[in-house]
Each structure stands twice: as C-alpha cells, then as structure tokens.
Point group: C2
Chain length 331, copies 2
C-alpha cells in the first residue's frame, strides 16, 4: 500500500503538469483542491469520461493522442450540451515503466488541446498502477442558468441534424485492426479514416449554436443508431431516417460501395464525436446558418415523429435495416 501524494508525485506534478495549470483557480496545483468562482447567473456543466489502455485506446497509441482523446471526449459532451469549456481535472494512473519521455509527450498533447479549446487544467491526481494506463478527466463547462441542452427536450416535428460525417471512426478502427480492409482506398482516404479514429474532433465551436437552437442534443460516442435511440427514448419520440440521408465521408462511402454490409458498421460504430441535435422546424434555417458561420457542416437527416417505437433507418430497398446491435458496449 502506498500513497499517491508523496514527494515523488509532487515532483512529477511540478515538472510535467504545473505548466498546464493556467487557470487561476488551479492555484498552481500547489493546494489540495481547486477553486472556481462561477459567474453570476451561470450554471456549471459537469462531465466525466475515462480512457483505459487496451479498452478504449490501443496501448501503443501515441502518448499525445491518448491525452488529446481523453480531453476531447469530455469536450465533446460539453459541446453537445451547449456549454463553453471552463477547465478540467485529470486523474491519471501510470503503469510501471512509464518514461519521462512518454509523460512529456502526453503533457504536450494535453497542453496543446487545453490551449486550443480554452480548457485549462484545474487540478488532478497522479498514481502508479499495476494495471494498464488509465486517464480519467472531469471537464467543466459554463452556460446561462437553465439553458443546458438535454437529451429529453425533442418534440415531434423537430428536424434532426448531425454534424460532420458518420462512421469514419468505426471504419478507421477496422483499418487499424486489419490494414487489408482498406486496400481499395487511396492513401488519403485511409489516412482520413485512421485519423478520425485516433483523434476525435469535438465540435465545441458549435456549442452556442446548439444551445440557442436545439431542443435536445447529445454527442455521438456510441454510434448514430444507438445515440439516436437514446435521444428518442429520453424525449418520447421516434424517427424513420433514410440511411441515404446520413452524411458519409468519401472514404466511408467508397468502402460501403464495395461492401454494402459496412453501412451497418458506419451507423452503429462508436467514436464519431459528432453532435446529433433535434431542432424545432422553425429554427432549422437559423441553426443551419449559425453552423455555417461557425464553419461546421451540418446535415438534416430527417424529422422526429410522435411515437414510442425505437427509431429506424430505412435502407436502399425502402425496408428498415435490422441491426445486429445498435451500439457498442463491452458489458
């Protein structure tokens, strides 16, 4: 048994993590807690999501990519809820043999993203573990009181929008496991899919657009089909989505054209980190314009309808697609 706050940890924090603690409330990581003074009239949005090597990322993934991913999956939640990032807490458990060079790369990735997304380190906890690397981040966001966009506010008639393209990360993971699976792609297409898997691109620049227009939203971390099911269930609505309406990248479209069965993987595979938003029909045009102004592609994939039935995707044969599973799960 040993403690995680001894002088060894203090040195490690001073060397690697203190430079990231640019938020005044982090107190230079020199105290037992951080302090946040929320602006009057604001709510804080809290989200926590972790990464375990061998479960959520390949253990040999670049250290900076692991750090970015750990922060970005949390930033993605803030974006989908309409919140502006405030800062984050980091709990990291390092396996034996973690080198200083690895840590320096990890911190570089974290630092660059903290800067890029305006989300500084507020505090944390560092330990060694006999198990795999684990990085758990709690991120804080801010928005005007009472305006967090929930899963459960969608209404029949709302327009469903999705940002970016769907399925790239799942097909990138497939290529990561089996390089042959991408033999028909151009190098640029292969690279696109692999990067989409390795490094989510959270849509934080769209947060304010979502907050002011969407009736419900969530980020697509478990696959479009599964996350749409969650939104529909929480809101008590249903939907029939034409699969042909779902935005796909060139690379994903090329793979599906060769092997139509991959459509299922694209619609149910995880790690897209796009935003799925329900927008009242009267606000749809303004939502589209605001997203355009923010530089984020959004696609209208269909309408929500009254009903309790699970949402369905309609295939090229005009029949509902029967998925073997609607989302990733390891339970």
């Amino acid at each position: 048994m040993s403690r995680g706050e001894g002088s060894g940890e203090d040195r490690l924090i001073a060397r690697h993590f203190r430079p990231l603690a640019k938020h005044p409330g982090a107190l230079g990581l020199a105290d037992d807690a951080a302090v946040l003074t929320p602006p009057p009239g604001c709510d804080l949005v809290l989200t926590t999501d972790g990464i375990i090597a061998g479960v959520h990322v390949f253990p040999d993934a670049p250290a900076d990519a692991i750090a970015r991913r750990a922060l970005r999956v949390n930033l993605s939640d803030l974006a989908a809820k309409g919140a502006k990032p405030v800062g984050f807490l980091l709990a990291v458990a390092l396996p034996g043999g973690t080198t200083d060079a690895w840590l320096a790369e990890f911190v570089r990735g974290l630092s660059e993203d903290a800067e890029r997304y305006g989300c500084p380190l507020l505090g944390g906890d560092t330990d060694h573990t006999p198990g795999p690397l684990s990085v758990s981040i709690t991120a804080f966001g801010m928005l005007p009181a009472g305006t967090m966009v929930r899963r459960n506010g969608a209404q029949p008639g709302d327009v469903l929008f999705v940002t970016g393209t769907v399925g790239d990360a799942a097909l990138g993971l497939m290529l990561r496991k089996d390089a042959q699976a991408g033999a028909s792609l151009t190098p640029a297409q292969r690279n696109h899919l692999l990067m989409r898997y390795l490094q989510p691109d959270p849509r934080n620049v769209l947060a304010e657009t979502v907050r002011t227009h969407a009736s419900a939203a969530l980020d697509i971390s478990d696959g479009l089909a599964g996350d749409l099911t969650k939104l529909c269930r929480a809101s008590g609505v249903t939907a029939e989505i034409e699969a042909a309406q779902v935005p796909l990248s060139d690379a994903t479209r090329a793979l599906i054209t060769r092997e139509p069965a991959l459509l299922e993987r694209a619609l149910t595979g995880g790690d897209d980190y796009e935003i799925l938003a329900a927008v009242p029909a009267g606000k749809a045009q303004a939502f589209r314009a605001s997203a355009h102004a923010a530089g984020i592609a959004v696609t209208d994939i269909g309408l929500l309808a009254a009903g309790e039935a699970p949402p369905q995707f309609i295939g090229p044969d005009r029949q509902p697609i029967a998925f073997a599973r609607t989302s990733y799960s390891h339970f």
Copy 2:
C-alpha cells in the same frame, strides 16, 4: 476496443447507481452531463482523488469499505479547505468477474456515506478494465467566495492544531499486514487501529470551524510530518514540534511504549485523514471552543515560527528526530 456507454452500462447504472443520484443536477443520470447552479456569492471547491486496488487498498477489502474510502478521502479534502459538500462524480473501472453482489455492497457503502455526509452522486462513468479495480471520485464543495482555506496562509506565531489522533491508520496497516505486530494489544485496541486504517473518518463537521478560524489547513493523508512540511513550505514558515504533544490513541501509545521506533511510523505514516490547521493565536481559544461544540477533539501541538527550515519533531531526548522518510510515496 469498446465503448463504456453502451446499453450494458446503461442497465448497470440504472440498477445500481441511479438510486444514489438524489441531487437534482444529476438529472437521474439520464443525460450526458450533470448541471450545478452555484448559489450567488459562493465559490466551488473541486478535489479529485482515486483508489486503485492493490495500491491504496487491499484487493480483498470489503466492497462497501472501498466505496466509503474513495468518497471519504475526497470529503476530507473538502473539510480541510473549509467547504461544505455539494456532490460528487464517480469514475469506476471494474475488473472482470465483478459480481452483482459486490456492486450492490459497493453501492450500499457509497449510498450510506453520501447520505451521511450530505454529498449526493451527480454523475459518473463506468467501465470494465483488464487491470485492478479503480475508483476515482471528484468531489465538489461550496463556501462563501474567497474563503477557501489554503496551505499557504499560515503566519509565524500561529498555533498548530491537529484533530483526533495521529498514526493510528499507519499502525493499523502494519497490523493488517502482520497480525503478530499487535499481539500485545487488547482486542479493542487492535480493532481500533484496524478500523482507523480501513475507514477514514473525515472531519466534515469541522469545516466551518476551519473556514472561520484557520489561516492555513490541509488534511493529513501522507503523514503528519510530511503534511506539516507541505504547510510550512507553502506558507514560508517553520516549526519545532515536541513529539510528546502529538495526540495518540491508547492503542498507538501502547505500541510505541513497547517499541519506541514506531513513533516514527506514527508521525510519518499516511491515511490519518485528520486535519492540520494553523490558527492565529488570537483565534485559538475560539477555534478550540468551536471544535468542542462540533464534537471534534483538537490538540494544540505547537507554534509556527519564522524561517525557511523544514519543520522538526523533538523527541523525548530533546533532540530533533531524524526521519528515514517524512511521508509515504510510491514514486
């Protein structure tokens, strides 16, 4: 690679964790984030501390005790900073073979303590791991803006107070590893030390007393000697503490009487989760009275002095005790 938010996790959360989510901001754990509306004029205090089986607790410790410990080490930080608990986020990584019965016990411990300390579950993240059990908690506290008690506010002349007794947990750990080491104790004394190790007793009822009287404070998680060193270094002060002034339980005193070398273990061993507070001399009497009213024993162990030298403990021979190490560390 798999995702932690699939339907299996949803079921697990619904069955085990949803009943704990009594804070309205937890949204019944049915959304991607929690929401906190901080009262006007308040700061939020944030702390995160994790437990890994085999590192911070014995893997065969009772499930409810692991849960309590994970929450209590964070509550202890809030207490030492003078903050009232608001709620917590839980990130748990479950090893293969975790049973429903184990989870039910874990949740029972967590639930009872959440109730006892007024600190409800706000949200979390559940995963399976190929490694050992890991429980990482982020706790939130609240206090009037600008009043968090830091490590660095102590002044020469301040009185050093410590709550409860020191060293019990370290000697309890010794007994846990080697039952023979406690052969000279009564069963009640043995049990006292073992329980002090197994289950910290955070001093949250003292938070308001600390906040209104202390110039600096921290909780003793890494041993009195090490944590006093941190307080002195942060505040730019020093101290000479007579070891005989340090409050010891009967059990700890009995062991040290038999084996004087154990004094070092008592002063440097971790896991006490008592509060060490520096109190201006003019407030010392009021601090004592306020602690008494709260039902917490506090002991004056000496005065802080001007100087940059590390604090020292003076032994029975009137000489400074030379510790082999001043605090636990596994780095």
